[in-house]
């Protein structure tokens, strides 16, 4: 379907109504789908060479896997974890043009209409995770940044390694809006001000309520399974209704609007104008490639006063 971008979007999904979509015959390339037992599925994001960064294929695989788990009447709990050194590095910023998952480069010059469609599809992904009718547990080790962090915020339960890292220097933890919601109270000085700019360790995340439990990294899988086994005892219809109730209340409390407001924030980002003393990272990526971009980003990264 032609767009102002000049290419066809591969991923035409809209809101991912979990019963309604056609992911049933799917060949998993970038995730591993595993039935731990009748009631528990473990989905592993399997792109370790790219630190499990989301590209279109990874996201589609994940959706298909979650669909499969939802269609399986015995399954009650879905665990999501990452292969390799970390849970996920967010959207793949090195993806080639034509991919929908990384931010769109302003030089492509899309119309606002294109942008809205793109953003709606992108942000709907997060809402879909929240709406999943079965229990989701994010099992987090290593780095969990950007979109990956939002993903864990949308899951019911997050179990993490004590030394996991949520957020990253130069990108922050509380800049997404959606990732603020699990932290409570919503604008506690402990949570917002202290975390706006620096990473949040797994231990800190558990203390702030962003994650439910933090354990030593070597105990992570075992702890996650403990939770999954306990929660898989709950009656499945009761869980679906309870979850709908809680999410409904979150919508009433403003979270639904937050998802939408997220679009505006993202779209405005396309028009960022750098100050004279700042490093222009779009330019860096263009001139020096992805590696050069990472080097320049590290240079501008926030010094951390806490550590």
């Amino acid at each position: 379907m032609p767009t102002g971008f000049g290419w066809d979007f591969k991923t035409q999904y809209m809101k991912n109504y979990w019963e309604a979509n056609d992911w049933r015959e799917w060949d998993f390339q970038l995730v591993i789908y595993e039935k731990v037992n009748d009631r528990i599925v473990r989905i592993t994001l399997n792109r370790p060479d790219k630190r499990n960064a989301f590209n279109d294929r990874l996201y589609e695989d994940l959706s298909a896997a979650m669909h499969r788990a939802n269609d399986d009447p015995d399954v009650r709990v879905v665990i999501i974890c990452g292969a390799g050194r970390g849970f996920g590095a967010g959207h793949d910023l090195s993806s080639p043009e034509g991919e929908e998952t990384p931010p769109v480069h302003p030089s492509i010059n899309p119309t606002l209409q294109d942008y809205y469609g793109f953003e709606r599809r992108r942000c709907a992904k997060y809402e879909d995770i929240m709406d999943y009718p079965k229990i989701t547990i994010a099992q987090v080790h290593g780095k969990c940044i950007g979109a990956s962090q939002i993903f864990t915020a949308m899951c019911d339960i997050t179990i993490c390694a004590e030394d996991a890292q949520f957020g990253i220097r130069g990108f922050g933890s509380q800049l997404h809006g959606l990732t603020e919601w699990p932290v409570w109270p919503l604008w506690s000085n402990k949570a917002y001000a202290g975390r706006a700019l620096t990473e949040m360790s797994g231990a800190e995340a558990a203390e702030l309520g962003f994650a439910n439990k933090a354990v030593p990294a070597d105990k992570l899988e075992e702890e996650t399974l403990r939770w999954a086994e306990a929660l898989s005892q709950l009656p499945s219809e009761a869980v679906a209704v309870t979850k709908e109730w809680m999410n409904g209340m979150l919508d009433i409390m403003g979270m639904g609007g937050t998802q939408r407001a997220h679009f505006h924030a993202h779209l405005a980002l396309q028009y960022v104008h750098f100050r004279p003393d700042e490093v222009n990272l779009y330019k860096a990526k263009k001139d020096k490639g992805f590696k050069g971009f990472l080097e320049d980003r590290a240079k501008t990264a926030t010094p951390d006063a806490n550590k």
Partner: protein, 280 residues
């Protein structure tokens, strides 16, 4: 014998749940007496602050699950009720908590022992909760396929912790309850009475014309934050829950209770989660 005792001492109104043999579990009689008392609590200008507490060893273990004289407490699966009657019943049940939440004077929950289910809801809708360190808070309703119908969970402890508490149904003690924002303060059991007395005497110094709008300002913000809509939404979701299909292999609390007794039913309800909760 009254299941609720009200006494006023030095401008402090004490509401004592009084079914200590049943851990102060709420049955129809207790709810009726509570309903009759609520207007009185507000109208009595000499009672500057209200303290809710429990007789005996516990605050309140929640709904009376015996099924005897509990029609007002909860609608059991298998009851043939029209949607209209269900809605009215759910409205009344939530209205009770909403009314206490909005009582135009400060309320304090003094919690020791078990504080579960609707007992926990009572503590949550009070303005302040002071707990013994070894008090036990929890909401095991989901294990029985019942909706844990208290919207304040999300407002008090946030998304992740709410899901944790309601899915696991685990009990937490007063210390952890303080850490997560469920209660104001946890104190050693033998200091509970003095702590609550100190707090209530201090508040009782304040004129009601001052505390009423002061409380209203905060509750109004909560209303603006969606709490009002959440009460109603919760009622509606109760009805959805009551329509759920139970799978043949799923644990049917009420059937087991009818056949084997309440004790057995509770034991079987909690058994699958026992190890997990102990190892938390």
């Amino acid at each position: 014998m009254s299941t609720i005792i009200y006494e006023k001492i030095d401008n402090i109104g004490y509401v004592t749940l009084n079914r200590p043999e049943e851990l102060n579990a709420m049955n129809d009689q207790m709810l009726a007496e509570l309903d009759a008392l609520l207007p009185q609590l507000e109208m009595d200008l000499e009672a500057k602050v209200i303290v809710f507490r429990g007789a005996g060893k516990d605050f309140c273990a929640g709904q009376d699950l015996t099924g005897v004289n509990t029609h007002e407490v909860l609608s059991e699966p298998g009851e043939h009720l029209t949607v209209k009657k269900r809605m009215e019943a759910e409205r009344r049940r939530n209205r009770r908590w909403e009314t206490i939440f909005n009582l135009a004077k400060p309320t304090i929950a003094q919690v020791h022992g078990h504080c579960l289910g609707t007992g926990c809801y009572l503590a949550m809708v009070c303005d302040m909760t002071i707990a013994a360190e070894d008090a036990l808070f929890g909401d095991p309703l989901l294990r029985m396929g019942l909706l844990p119908h208290m919207p304040l969970w999300l407002y008090l402890v946030g998304m992740k912790r709410t899901k944790e508490m309601l899915y696991t149904g685990c009990y937490i003690n007063g210390i952890e309850a303080e850490q997560i924002g469920l209660v104001n303060k946890a104190v050693p059991r033998d200091e509970l009475d003095t702590e609550v007395e100190r707090l209530s005497r201090g508040i009782a110094l304040l004129p009601c014309d001052a505390t009423a709008p002061a409380k209203d300002a905060i509750n109004s913000v909560m209303e603006a934050r969606g709490l009002g809509a959440c009460w109603r939404f919760t009622n509606n979701m109760q009805l959805v829950m009551q329509q759920r299909k139970m799978l043949p292999e799923e644990f049917d609390f009420f059937k087991v209770r009818d056949k084997q007794g309440l004790k057995a039913a509770v034991e079987q309800r909690d058994r699958p989660f026992k190890k997990f909760c102990e190892e938390r």
